[in-house]
């Protein structure tokens, strides 16, 4: 099971993602609501996976992902994105994100499928 950092400025999205990940058996190591908190928590804990809101006020999810990957080039970051943000997803993948989940998140399966693909790919 994975140690996860959730990065999202929206309290309700942090709660939703936390509930889903915990029900899938993962451990939430931290919840960050901006880039500064995310980088600080990433340095402090051993993190296997980051879920990253692509659109945050101030430094967005792409720049924050770039900061985390600068610290750890092997960081596994999954972007949380809405319809209409396809260009941002492309930019995030270019920076080093390994997958994305499209909102609204309607089931645990939607999340577990993406995580499984990322970690099966990693172990291949």
């Amino acid at each position: 099971m994975l140690q996860v950092l959730i990065v999202d400025d929206s309290l309700i999205m942090r709660k939703q993602i936390k509930k889903i990940l915990e029900s899938l058996g993962h451990t939430i190591m931290g919840e960050a609501k901006n880039a500064e908190e995310a980088v600080s928590m990433y340095k402090r804990f051993r993190i296997d996976l980051v879920t990253m809101d692509i659109s945050m006020p101030g430094k967005d999810g792409i720049s924050t992902s770039r900061d985390i990957i600068a610290i750890d080039p092997k960081a596994k970051i999954i972007m949380i994105t809405s319809q209409g943000q396809e260009d941002m997803v492309v930019d995030a993948i270019a920076v080093g994100a390994v997958g994305y989940i499209l909102k609204p998140i309607t089931s645990e399966e939607q999340v577990s499928k993406v995580i499984n693909k990322v970690f099966i790919k990693k172990s291949e």
Partner: protein, 163 residues
């Protein structure tokens, strides 16, 4: 010059709002009411959020929630109605913001991909207030009525640009 008027924008949003309510929040709507234009004030319900959309198209969207409806949607997001008292206000506010973000993302994917919309400014929350409209500005409004209360959607289309 080609332009898209506020009614078309409003209809696109309303269509996706219906899908969001019924398929995601599992809340049926009973009726849709169109509010006549010409109001000089926009009355906003229990909790409202405003988003400014810019680019070749340039407009503002208000979504105004009655209390029980916003609570029901928020509980759907987090999968429970057990919320710490100290967190309720923030949870409901972020529920309103996520709702408008999700609906607008669904409604305007085509315009974003076509370059008609270049950005959506993150939502701002306003509660229990009335906004006086500026002279000459046209508002288009629809209400979706559910058993938990109304979701009011308002579009203010500032101007027309070549698209």
């Amino acid at each position: 010059m080609t332009s898209i008027d506020g009614n078309i924008l409003l209809n696109k949003i309303t269509k996706k709002a219906k899908i969001f309510l019924t398929q995601y929040a599992k809340i049926d709507y009973d009726s849709i009411g169109t509010i006549q234009d010409g109001l000089d004030k926009l009355k906003l319900n229990y909790c409202s959020v405003i988003v400014y959309v810019h680019g070749k198209l340039n407009f503002t969207v208000f979504m105004s929630f009655e209390e029980d409806l916003l609570k029901e949607i928020s509980h759907t997001f987090i999968g429970t109605d057990e919320i710490e008292e100290s967190e309720k206000k923030d949870i409901y506010a972020s529920g309103a913001k996520e709702t408008i973000n999700t609906i607008l993302g669904l409604a305007f994917t085509d315009y974003i991909n076509q370059g008609k919309i270049s950005g959506i400014i993150p939502p701002i929350e306003l509660c229990n207030t009335t906004i006086t409209k500026l002279e000459g500005i046209t508002a288009f409004s629809k209400d979706l009525t559910t058993k938990f209360g109304k979701l009011s959607i308002k579009v203010i289309d500032y101007k027309e640009k070549d698209i």
